[in-house]
Amino acid sequence: MGKSVVLASSPAARRSSNEVLLEGEFMPDQVNILVIDDEQIMRDGSSRILSKDGWGVITAENGQLGLDVIKSRSEDIDVILLDLMMPGISGMEVLDHIRAINQNLLVIVITGYATVESAVEAMKKGAYDFIPKPFTPDQLRIVVRRALEKRSLQKETEFLRREREKSLRDIATEKSKVKTIINCMGDGVLVCDRDGCIVLTNPAASRMLKVSETSLLGNFLSQCNLDSELSKTIDESLKAKDLSYSSVSQEFSIGQPEEIFLRAHTAPVRSDLGETMGSVTVLQDISHLKELDKMKSEFIAMVAHELRAPIAAVEQQLTVILSRMAGDVSEKQEKLLARAKERTRGLLNLIKDLLDLSKIEAGRMVQYKEPVTLQEIIQRVVDLMRVEAENKKIDLQFPVPSQNPLIHADRTSMEGVFTNLISNAIKYTPEGGKVWVTLGEEGGFAKASVSDTGIGIKKDDLSRIFDKFYRVRTVETRQIVGTGLGLSIVKSIVDAHLGSISVESEEGGGTTFTVLLPKGSNPTTC
């Protein structure tokens, strides 16, 4: 790259276009040094010395020209070498102008008649350094290098400052975005810090809870007059040490006379170290769903009752015929009638499940909560199931647990849960297999597992087995009678007790259902 005239369009350059006033060129992404000196020898000398080090050098032969360059390209200039003694605008004046354009520009003044005074004055005006004339190439290099070091520190600082500004801006944008999202949400949001103080909420939450936003925000849960079950759940989520405690869903109603039903999902917020930092609750208004659900449940109950009576009568008639109380029955007739009776039995079971489900959904099944021990409940169910297990030559075990957690539950429906799980385990385990129930505690929960060595559940089916009417259809399950409602009933009951149910299974490798139920907090007051 040879020398070329830059800023040919600048007025100064045009005015004296017959002379080369401005020489050199800026190198992009490289150190650039501007030399302002009226002496040709100095300009050429400096330019030669500095170019050797790979720096871009531009020279200007007077102050005005130098200032023009600085004005238009101040960002590209790293260091300025400025002669103090020049005709026209003096070096001191140029220095003043440079400082006015950009305070950060590093100026090294060249003092012709090495007077300490002028160097000191220039330094006072903001020059970075000075170099007395005459100087050796090495002296020049040292001074320039020092200035460049300073320059790179300056750049670094500037870069960091911009980064910081940018991230602060990003955070502010993010914050405002999140706030807007939360405020626009139809669902209510309630965020507490670890002390139970509400730190974030939205209009939907205050509308649903019928509490003004100002009396929520910044107040402690206990002061907000919230539904007691909800406060309790949030409190528990804050206290939960156990990492398996993920989220709890519950339903409750508030307000009189216009009652609204809310569903609340509460989950602890944890730091990356697993420490609980707070708790988030999302509220949904499910009044409308409740209304529909109630109608549906009532309809199912009505239909089921209406269906039940005639089917029960038919089965009663069949049992009378089959027991030969209405006369003789041939072997062929008996076979057909027995089959018919099996079918009516299946229908009655389906109706029973439907009724159970509609009762649970109408909230009538889990009304009588009392303190019970799971051991007692499971033992009772295991005893009742023993015959069924023995008929299939299945080893049914319930070892005496080391812990016997007390829970607050509806005994009848809790028995339903374990009847269903154990009966399923027996049904889906081939003869000679094993079914076992274990009981223990985990964090604030009673934990009961029902495991078997049965046929297992396919991955695809696992996610759907708690759905209503979902049945796994394979060659092995074809012979097994079921309504596809059992597990959804189990889940509804567990949900109604604020617990959770999970399943682990491997196709052909057995299945384990695990039920977690909150422990009764104080047995004496239950």
Binding site: R308, A313, Q316, Q317, T319, V320, I351, D356
Partner: protein
Amino acid sequence: MSKKILIVDDDPDLVEAVTMILEAKNYDVAAAYGGIEGLQKAKSENPDLIVLDVMMPDKDGYAVCKELKADPALNKIPVLLLTAVVSKISTTRYTQQMGMETEADDYIDKPVEPEVLVKRIEALLAK
């Protein structure tokens, strides 16, 4: 002399079927097709035992049972409640509680197996 059993159920088909079971075991059978009629026949027929359905439109089994047990002339007659729920322990407990609340002497889910019904009746009559 054979014992007399009163069946109270609003479903005639069920009454007929239960009648066949009981007649096969040589009981005398009287039938009533509703709660009110059941109470009348409890007085007029002088039965040794009453098989009483729960779900009836005019007066349900619980109400009938309560009145029977409140009447000094009738409260000695054992009452076997025919409950409408298919046997599964999640619900039998419920009906059991209901049965006890209504002071019925025993309860049984319908449809009933003939042998079970007969055994329960024999047990109640032997008391």
